[in-house]
Symmetry: C2
Amino acid sequence: MHIRAPGPLAKVRFTETEMPFRAPLSDIRFILGKVVPLAPVAETELFAEATADLAEAVLGEAAKLCDEVLAPVNRAGDMTSARLENGVVRTSPGFAEAYRAIAEGGWVAVSAPVASGGMGLPQALNMAIHDMMSGACLSLQLNPLLTQGQIEALDHHASDDIKALYLPKLISGDWSGTMNLTEPQAGSDVGALRTKAEPNGDGTYTITGQKIFISWGDSDITKNVCHLVLARLPGAVEGTKGISLFLVPKLLPDDDGQPGARNGVRVVSLEHKLGLHGSPTCVMEYDGATGWLIGEENRGMAAMFTMMNNARLGVAMQGIGVAEAACQMAVEFAQDRRQMGVIADHPDVRRMLATMRAEVFAARSIALACAVAGDMATATGDRDWAARAAFLTPIAKSYGTQTGMDVSEMAMQVHGGMGYIEETGVAQFYRDVRVTAIYEGTNGIQAMDLVGRKLSDDGEAAYRLLEEIETGAEVARVTLPDLAEDVWAAAETLRESTEWMVTQEMPDRCAGAAPYLSAFALVLGAHYHLRAALAEGGTGARANLARFHIRRLLPQYTAHLTAARDGANGVMALSPEALAS
Amino acid sequence: MHIRAPGPLAKVRFTETEMPFRAPLSDIRFILGKVVPLAPVAETELFAEATADLAEAVLGEAAKLCDEVLAPVNRAGDMTSARLENGVVRTSPGFAEAYRAIAEGGWVAVSAPVASGGMGLPQALNMAIHDMMSGACLSLQLNPLLTQGQIEALDHHASDDIKALYLPKLISGDWSGTMNLTEPQAGSDVGALRTKAEPNGDGTYTITGQKIFISWGDSDITKNVCHLVLARLPGAVEGTKGISLFLVPKLLPDDDGQPGARNGVRVVSLEHKLGLHGSPTCVMEYDGATGWLIGEENRGMAAMFTMMNNARLGVAMQGIGVAEAACQMAVEFAQDRRQMGVIADHPDVRRMLATMRAEVFAARSIALACAVAGDMATATGDRDWAARAAFLTPIAKSYGTQTGMDVSEMAMQVHGGMGYIEETGVAQFYRDVRVTAIYEGTNGIQAMDLVGRKLSDDGEAAYRLLEEIETGAEVARVTLPDLAEDVWAAAETLRESTEWMVTQEMPDRCAGAAPYLSAFALVLGAHYHLRAALAEGGTGARANLARFHIRRLLPQYTAHLTAARDGANGVMALSPEALAS
């Protein structure tokens, strides 16, 4: 037995720093142009500056940054983990310079409030940039994504003084931000957290407790690190209703607003993770640290939820970006590698490449549709747009990250034995992307959010989306009758399952939540593929890809919906003891 | 953003050496007793010794070895890779002792020929033991699996002198064996290899060339390492018909048959792999090494194929064994971990656990059915049994290893953030098992073997299997009418797709090979689940699991078969250039 290697030795082909990556500019351009158009967003008053020309320029510049600055440090981040030295996190080689390019290029500021120095551009552009940055270097992209979440939270909930002091520094990228929710006993159940906040009587609070899994909890690439920390005030009720949000900077700002004295917070240790080695994952100790209340007392969860949609969407982009990079690597390898002819010409290899590309397109379209809906909601205050963004968020997050896992698994498979060798690089994608299905709410939590909170409008948002899909299919009937019929029938079946779902009790919904989400993602993906095909007249590469998706991948929806409607009894009849062996 | 950890810190729960694992004795016992019975094998003259009592004793002893000796070294193998020191491979801590327990316990000898010191027991028992050993320590299990392959090849093709000299040493585990096929340009396309063999005129040959991806190509845990090397004789035709097989020991046996002078073969380097760190993967340099021809000149591929079925089945057991271990770890974690109640009681978590257990059972039953068929073929010479074993082999290999990947992915998901931390241990399963879908013929190669060679009997072996499934479903109609109907209908649809498949040209078959294989595995899995349910009277835990599999997982077969029958045109219309971005 041996590893059947379909390649020359990995180390021959790739050096340790060379990671070929081209930001998926043409796909993003096409999707924001023809599939989930950005144009209506630019027609709003709020986003009037986001013209097609500006979007083009911004995306083009971002692509350059990704190809030329971020992608080249990705391998180094994997091979030389961030490390803790004398209480300070030292980042991977090249990360400081690459981060400086992000900050100085204004890439933290894309969607940040104009009043505080941001560019105020739509999240659809910001998320497209996160897609590109994630494919280039996931570990580093996570840093500005977190800072942007903090900017959003402070902008909505902080006092004017706090905003004036912190926002410009965060938006410029001089300082970075983190989110501190998790404690050993409080993961998905945030309400179980125990970190304490005691009022000092001067408007500040003393924060004490331990937080774990804090991404970029410290680093040497920004001048300060600002922590948003969930904690309990004295006498707070148990559960999520007794949680407040505090801002705790690593270095206390002095009178000039410059980083001053050390605060009572330190990094205890870094986690040794499967991947994402360039991103320091910290255990944080708060020992009498000084913090400032953000938002109202005991309303910390609400403040966190403000930024949840965009944070989850940002993680969707992570999955999609890594999938893009893995897909590119696999296609390139398959075009070069000869085993009884070029392997890209073997039907089963071509099938894998096509599956990867079709899924990346579907996931990207869903995620950008979610971003566009969010921008429309922000710009117009329209509740339907807001409901759509909320509905699409768990689908985008779960399907985007599942696509990241599936595509990087397939990309490794295309590489054969060489894929298993770390120097080839595809293993890094496989390892890095795995966490995206876990953090920011596991994909199981996303599915429960979908069938619980997001269907709590009796399915209204879902039905509006299905309406759009069916209308789209009817339009497509003229040009692509067979594909249109398949999409229409799928939407109809999904509608029936949605009607069933909204009448069920929560255990039955939850037992079918994950397959229901998968089915919805498949049908949405087919819908956007169909739109793409129509946009190019029903022929050519995009129509071929749409045909592949609709004929080969979409049919899985029936099995998913069968499982979705099976209820909880069959699942719960299987006791953990019986499942143990 | 942060990792939502559903657990106390990994390092708190597991020490570096503690890996809870219980060999799946009761499941294996049940399957070999009631689902794919070993009894008919024990009724043959050849395997008359394999009585139920003996099987029970052997499996019980193997389970003890796995739980007490192998599982405890698994983490050390991951954390301290095998390494190359001054040309010698130093194995991971504890591996030498654990290997000694394997060798001294006679576990290399289970199915080896009695005439040479083996136990001559059925492969069904041997493979069940590999299942258990893989779950305990995959890196180490690979070593005896490879040696067994070499024993089989030599027993069938070597001269009596070679057999007398080598077989006892290999069977006792004093010496180990490797397979040397792959070269940088020759992976799945073995026929492209260039290693040369020149006859020396004295019955020996001089071997020169480089081989890559050689598992256990060297180590310090056996007294000698014997390589089976594919090479070309002078003037050999191109392709697989010009390949011969040679035995090349690391140390040339002296006149007493003891390891003597160094042969001209050395380890150039070890690969840095995603997982399986305890198994040294070597680049081997043959520089005028002395070898002995095994079998006839230019018939090396045929000799290799002799052992291919069992080697592939051994890899199936690897996937299944790791899936078992990952499943156990996830169930245990889910029973302990509290987040709004014990997480095992959350329907979506229970769904994941049930999926894992249902797939492990299906994969294990398919693989053991394959082994039993092979034993019946060996014992009776019956061509139908041989055809069944050959047909089931690619299904067992591909589905078993896919199950290994899927289950370890889900096991990590159940662990949430903790699963991403290396100390928890589930990440090792995820990394280790990934290679099983690649080596010993990628899963794509398996699928092509199925629709090509294994359907080249016009589907006869497939139809016989489908007949058995339908007959089983008819028997089950009395007790479990709904499940029986579902299985029967699935078999019928699969029959229609098989009828379609055998009439197609190869490109169309290959474009549908992977989904066809997936559908076959699902239907077979449902069949064995149904048998298991019936064996326990149609109620209880096994019936519940069967119901879960048939209602929730089996329905995917329709989508797979739709894809299987889509033909090559749709796939090949997507050019690699169009898929690149």
